[in-house]
């Protein structure tokens, strides 16, 4: 995750946050496993096939889906294609720079993509126009416009909402437009380790104080679909098991509250 000079914490604030977390409390009043307030505006960009504007606390992202006909991958001739891209816009944080995707944005995009893909959320087999020749390609693009931590989960939420409302423009191929076939909703929950505690949905400041990050994406069956450990710290296996439990519990709540 980006950790940048622009947000260097004073030692006073640092010590304060760490002390509170030890006591199970957070600077903004949340408990260690609480998410910040989530608001999702669906169809925010009507010109897109599907879109969403997500506020996760003060983190803001816009996700847009475009669906176009194109060639399938040679090894999956009978499936549509999903591609996911994340842009960390320079407007989102003082040290974000314009330019090609860097390792941070690539990691976020790939972790988000893995959750969607591995849960088989989109029924890609229903996106075939002509087997082996022409399929629908689902382009997911996510623009990060304000960064206050936990981009992986903000982006996942945006993609879920955007895909859920997306329409496949089949009329351009001589068919009839239809909603993108969705089978299930994978939810990612990201935690960081501060001291010995796991802290859910970290803010930028909490990300800066943390030693390691873990994202666990679970499906509606409660199974793990994707995981990613990040940063140079380490986790014990017990901590990972705890993270898995937190993720499936919290994921369920988010799915019920924000994605139905």
């Amino acid at each position: 995750m980006p950790r940048d000079e622009a947000g260097v914490l004073s030692e006073i604030k640092r010590d304060y946050i760490i002390k509170k977390i030890k006591e199970g409390k957070r600077d903004d009043g949340r408990g260690l496993t609480d998410f910040r307030e989530i608001t999702i505006q669906k169809n925010y960009v009507p010109r897109a096939a599907g879109s969403a504007f997500v506020n996760l606390g003060r983190t803001k992202i816009v996700a847009g889906v475009k669906i176009e006909a194109g060639e399938p991958f040679p090894d999956t001739p009978n499936q549509g294609v999903l591609t996911t891209n994340v842009e960390l816009l320079p407007m989102a944080f003082p040290t974000f720079e314009a330019g090609p995707p860097n390792e941070n944005s690539i990691e976020i995009a790939r972790v988000v993509d893995r959750g969607i893909r591995e849960s088989k959320m989109i029924d890609l087999e229903k996106l075939v126009v002509e087997p082996g020749k022409k399929v629908y390609i689902v382009f997911v693009d996510i623009n990060v416009i304000d960064y206050d931590g936990n981009l992986i989960d903000a982006c996942t939420l945006g993609v879920l909402s955007a895909l859920k409302s997306a329409i496949v423009p089949a009329s351009k191929e001589g068919g009839k437009d239809f909603p993108l076939p969705i089978r299930t909703l994978p939810v990612s929950v990201t935690m960081v380790k501060i001291g010995d505690e796991l802290v859910v949905d970290p803010s930028v400041e909490e990300e800066q104080l943390s030693s390691a990050r873990i994202t666990v994406t679970t499906g509606e069956d409660g199974h793990l679909k994707a995981m990613q450990k990040g940063d140079s710290g380490s986790f014990t296996l017990d901590e990972i098991r705890k993270a898995i439990k937190i993720s499936s519990d919290t994921g369920k709540l988010i799915r019920e509250k924000h994605l139905q």
Binding site: E118, K225, A226
Partner: protein
Amino acid sequence: MGTASDIKLIDENGLRIDGRSPTELRPIKIETDVLDRADGSAFIEWGGNKILVAVYGPREAYPKHTQDIEKAIIKARYNMAAFSVDERKRPGPDRRSIEISKVISEALSNAVMVEQFPRAQIDVFIEVLQADAGTRIAGLTAASVALASAGIPMRDLVVGCAAGKVDGQIVLDLGKEEDNFGEADLPMGILAKSGKVVLMQMDGDLSAEEFDKATELILDAVKRINEIQREALAGKFVSLALERGGE
């Protein structure tokens, strides 16, 4: 994970497509100091994987604005040779290799005493000459050996190992077909002594119980892989001393 298929990956005797049992690793061989110029190097053969690792540094980080006044930065570069896979791979970094480079760098930063080298960088070049599933964990295992052979101070050796799910069963160290047609893959990087997890990625479908089973297999295998790392490092020196023993 790849697409479902009719290929049977585990036979009626419980053996896998390459004849291994579910808890069996593929053959692993590590050699150190295989390159002349590098400060440290290692070559690993793990199943059909053939991977070279070279370490350069610590040296002053360049460009200068990348320097960290408190510690060295570890720059791992995972790269697949164009001829390493069935279909020619376009040379140069793609998104997958950029992500793998990042997680390997982070895992190694945990073991290396980076705080001893402010302003410096340590380059770890991981070149996959032939890929056969599990390249990131094989590369990580060899990188850790190459760093140690370069005389870089470390808290522990890092061992890479993966487990996964194949035909509904949890198995150790996925081979190529299992990687392509299996149901889950869980690559991990573990500190040999403390058992702490410094790299973990997962994709596919695993229940919490299956995850526990998979990590059990991995932890057990880590001991065996670490032994191979140690032998690769020490072997050269021990054999030289034995050779001299007759005089």
